[in-house]
């Protein structure tokens, strides 16, 4: 490996002898989206402020995993999903897309800020900072009897509805039919891009029934 020796020899001087600079945009180009209503955990903690979380749940998420997850609230995604959500994301890691960066979102606690909703028609809103056409949106809710103090597993999710062939805008609304539930639950969504990318986005929105 002649190449390796060469690499090792120049590596130490890479930055100090930089010959050119380029400017590159960072996060803005990557920005995609999350559920804004009912707000996802990432959206809630982002709104509270990554440096100044207010709820105990967001404070705990920042204490465990830092602030960057909430600056990048719209990137709870997997570039390699291609519909294989259940294979690539382990049980208990659904809210954070199975990513260490987003592990704070998976904290099993029953005090995540939750929106009060009722069974029947519910309008939900997705906030896409960079909308991608040709997408599918899937919505699920936790089964009756799910323990909100415990982890979220794939088998806890009951499908509500899937919208295929969607071309989302910055704020996209859908109406879904919420089944009978009591107590705290999670509304889970998957945004799967279909054309030109395997990328999928995941959200956990905490809700409570009266």
């Amino acid at each position: 490996m002649q190449a390796r020796h060469k690499v090792a020899a120049v590596a130490t001087s890479v930055i100090s002898t930089a010959s050119l600079l380029a400017i590159l945009p960072t996060s803005p180009a990557m920005a995609h989206g999350s559920m804004s209503n009912p707000p996802s955990r990432a959206y809630v903690c982002k709104a509270e402020g990554p440096e100044t979380p207010k709820s105990d749940a967001c404070k705990a998420a920042v204490a465990v995993a830092g602030t960057q997850a909430f600056y990048d609230w719209h990137e709870v995604s997997r570039l390699d999903a291609g519909g294989r959500h259940r294979q690539i994301i382990p049980n208990g890691r659904l809210c954070g897309a199975g990513r260490d960066k987003y592990r704070g979102l998976d904290l099993p606690r029953a005090d995540w800020p939750a929106k009060r909703i009722s069974p029947g028609n519910l309008t939900v809103t997705y906030h896409a900072t960079a909308p991608h056409s040709n997408s599918n949106f899937e919505f699920y809710i936790t089964r009756e009897g799910w323990n909100p103090s415990g982890p979220l597993s794939w088998s806890d999710l009951v499908p509500i509805r899937t919208f295929t062939g969607q071309n989302p805008t910055t704020f996209t609304n859908w109406t879904i039919n919420i089944p009978q539930r009591t107590g705290r639950h999670i509304l889970f969504s998957i945004w799967q891009r279909v054309v030109g990318s395997e990328e999928a986005f995941y959200t956990c929105s905490d809700v409570t029934f009266g």
Binding site: V10, A11, I23, L24, A29, M30, A65
Partner: protein, 206 residues
């Protein structure tokens, strides 16, 4: 970072890539809640040798063009440990990150140069391929300015997030790339970052 703007603007004339991208990205930044971040990319004075294989696709090129600025930022974050009170374990780990990130930059630059490709990609291409993650200047400044108490945790968590983003990029390159050397580098990036994340989680007691 405002003081750098005139210098960077002047250099746009030298590098056709990235400059137009920067101005078009500003609008996105406003919409996303991120500032219009700019990352300075240090290119090696001496890029590594060209790749042996001349067969490659867009995903190969994109991965290398993302790895260079991403690693540049990773080095900047890891180097914060040098002048701050962090444990010996974190100092050792960040020094190792600086070394391997720089090696990867040299390798990627050599391959791109050999294929006559720019070192960075226009933002429109990033959009198609999943985009360019990373810290904005403000976010980086918050890590730099963090008080000593809790600095190590903040630094380690920032590095975990940064590594985790690189794992995503590397997996996409492994899946969509075609050049055997790029795919090998992508697998190496995924494996190395994943191992280092495990070490960092242990440092945090998680």
């Amino acid at each position: 970072m405002n003081y750098r703007a005139p210098v960077l603007a002047a250099l746009c004339a030298l590098l056709l890539t990235g400059c137009g991208a920067h101005s078009s990205a500003s609008g996105h930044g406003a919409a996303s809640g991120h500032g219009p971040a700019a990352v300075s990319v240090a290119l090696p004075a001496e890029p590594g040798p060209a790749a042996e294989s001349t067969s490659y696709n867009d995903a190969d090129v994109m991965f290398l063009q993302m790895l260079i600025p991403y690693n540049t930022q990773g080095v900047e974050i890891a180097k914060l440990a040098e002048s701050r009170g962090v444990s010996g374990e974190v100092k050792k780990l960040t020094a190792s990150i600086v070394g391997t990130h720089n090696e990867e930059i040299v390798t990627a630059a050599g391959w791109l140069k050999g294929w006559n490709k720019p070192m960075t990609a226009p933002v429109d291409e990033h959009k198609h391929h999943g985009g360019m993650p990373g810290l904005t200047a403000d976010e980086l400044a918050k890590v730099k300015g963090a008080p000593d108490e809790g600095f190590e945790e903040k630094l380690v968590n920032t590095l975990i997030a940064h590594h985790d983003d690189a794992v995503q990029m590397a997996r996409a390159a492994s899946a969509d790339g075609s050049n055997p050397e790029v795919k090998g580098l992508a697998r190496k990036v995924e494996s190395l970052r994943s191992t280092q994340v495990k070490v960092m989680l242990k440092v945090l007691g998680q």
